[in-house]
Symmetry: C2
Subunit: 385 residues, 2 copies
């Protein structure tokens, strides 16, 4: 006899919960990828991705984690010695810097207080001082601090310059309305284990005309992440190297779900759940990490003094089966992050709040019962649905 598995709730900002329908779609027999059957599927997926990216460009699918697509963005558009501005407002901003420096790019780093969004004026000042800047690299949603950066304002700065706007949209594509073409984003990256309701293993990246043009003169070496080669293949509904076939089954299924919900409701739902979570946090008296410009993908909250974040996170994981994210680096032990992206609804927010209440009580906060849940419930699902 074995016990039933613990009921588990994935409320971390990736991997996000995968619908059973998607898990089972991926359990279909593996077919060969050099076949009309697979090519038809790639065609369908390509079409769906363009709609989610809101672009006329190709959205390329890579078999890698999102970091692979971040690296691809750099190595396909820049050359050694190029200058790039990196907005470093957290762990993922840091990653842009590491990738760029690893490839010999000179980085003008804008260090932003953790929890704050970048001030576009800081970017503009460097662009004016150094017109040779080839790219501005930024997260749309900086997951380590749950901040949303002002991508539209940054695009306004790069649009008429010879500078690319390279956006890590790993936790924002499919979450917040960020139409690539209309906004003027040059490169927009994402990953499967976020709004796409899939396990990790696929990354996505789209280039604007301006980015493709830049790629023609970029001299950094690349092979697996050579996107010109990949584009030539994917435009024929195939891939340059062996694709992650069964994850593609899941992608087709999940894109169908997203497009059936429709982008307006997809974005509205994420916004509602984010507002509910923030309200719940306020109800519990927990200050938001990103008070001024919070991300609709995840909400970070500061814990009361004396509540050990690491232990709280472990308690939630082990005792009640709820997986939330803790803080990294300077936020280690001080914050918790609750995600609300992908296959999530109001009861996930309720669960997150109840879990916080269990956890806070466990670590000495007196009778927090229902305070977070009650405040979060002020954002119910629309009656018309």
């Amino acid at each position: 006899m074995t016990p039933a598995p613990q009921k588990r709730y994935l409320l971390a900002p990736g991997p996000t919960p995968v619908p059973e329908e998607v898990l089972l779609a991926m359990a279909a027999p593996t077919i060969h990828h050099r076949t009309p059957q697979f090519e038809a599927m790639v065609g369908e997926v390509r079409d769906g991705l363009k709609q989610v990216w809101q672009t006329e460009q190709d959205v390329l699918v890579l078999a890698s984690s999102g970091t692979g697509a971040m690296e691809a963005s750099v190595v396909n558009t820049l050359s050694p010695g190029d200058v790039a501005i990196v907005v470093n407002a957290g762990k993922f901003g840091e990653r842009w810097t590491k990738i760029c420096r690893g490839y010999g790019i000179e980085v003008e780093e804008i260090e932003v207080e953790w929890g704050e969004a970048v001030d576009p004026a800081a970017v503009e000042a460097i662009l004016q001082r150094r017109p040779e800047v080839r790219a501005v690299l930024v997260q749309a949603s900086e997951t380590s601090t749950t901040v949303l950066h002002p991508i539209e304002d940054l695009a306004a700065l790069t649009r008429d310059r010879d500078t690319l706007l390279i956006v890590d949209g790993i936790t924002s594509v499919g979450v917040v309305d960020m139409p690539m073409d209309r906004t003027g984003i040059d490169i927009l990256v994402s990953g499967s284990q976020k709004a796409f309701m899939l396990p990790p293993g696929l990354a996505f990246v789209a280039f604007s005309e301006k980015a493709w043009k830049a790629s023609e003169s970029a001299t950094l070496p690349k092979f697996y992440f050579d996107l010109a080669r990949e584009r030539a293949s994917q435009q024929k509904n195939t891939t340059a190297y062996t694709p992650a076939i069964n994850l593609m089954y899941g992608l087709r299924k999940a894109l169908g779900f997203m497009l059936c919900e429709g982008l307006p409701e997809l974005f509205a739902r994420h916004d509602r759940l984010a507002r509910a979570t923030r309200a719940g946090a306020r109800g519990l008296g927990l200050p938001l990490v990103a008070e001024k410009s919070p991300s609709p993908a995840a909400t970070g909250v500061f814990l009361p003094d004396g509540v050990p974040g690491g232990d709280l996170q472990k308690y939630l994981r082990n005792a009640v089966g709820v997986e939330v994210a803790g803080g990294q680096d300077r936020f280690k032990g001080r914050i918790l992050r609750l995600a609300h992206l992908g296959h999530v609804g109001p009861f996930d927010v309720v669960t997150g709040m109840a879990a916080l209440e269990f956890g806070l009580s466990r670590f000495g906060v007196e009778a927090p019962w229902g305070r977070g849940v009650a405040a979060a419930e002020g954002f119910p699902p629309p009656a018309t649905r």
Copy 2:
């Protein structure tokens, strides 16, 4: 009403058939990767991979196709201007050349007649003439020609030199006995969609001490494929970037199957099935592409004059649901390749032979009935099983 799906048979050299038990293992709910639960799984997988590689070294798991691990082998051990010998005996040999040249490595290419294995004397001649050669890159099994290269003989040449032996074992690890440490292989690469009975999306690579030492002075840029960083993480049973979590569930399951069968029987079974396939081809009067040194992973056969390979392949796919591989480049339309690696047994060989018989008959060969099947059946499974 929809019809039942066509019964399909995957007899191409990758992707190979995935057992239903593995497909369903991958349909388990996605868990978070920064958890003791996931780390325990990584520990189990690491252990199993070492056994299959027959090495004391770490076998690193990457979220990418096999090509990613090939690139990782190059960028982690070589520097611009280094000299490398590439054995180019087919499409995958060509890929080594392209990767190396893309990264500014000077390639001494040994072009081998398609269908032949490399002559170690040709490698030795270059090594003697150019002692500065840093690496010899080769396939163990060159899938495009179904040839097996003499890896042991090559290892004898590199073992006492300051030269690495870098082996693409994508279709040979878990197929043919090639103990990494004992043979003296410095880098051994593989991929999930081959002997590992998984969908594509994972790549594997192990480095010898000598290769790790070389990596310390290698200056080629890398980030996603930085294996030193990856090793530091995987030695702690985690990964540097988000792993392909659900594929890891499948890997754990499939490794269990492989180790339960045991390496000796695993290799013996592949050998039996390869011999049976070759015998069947002879029974049908089809010359082998790799007569002298055939791979135990797949068997290429020349088609009779006048039989159009492309049309035959399409007929098999569409009319009878059997996926075999055709020929590439100079072999296009002239050969067919039947794989026998991974989750395969004698009835897959029988199916392949029967499919060939259907196909040859369809394209004008008179009454081939049973000739391939009968000859293949001379290699039955052992009675003791």
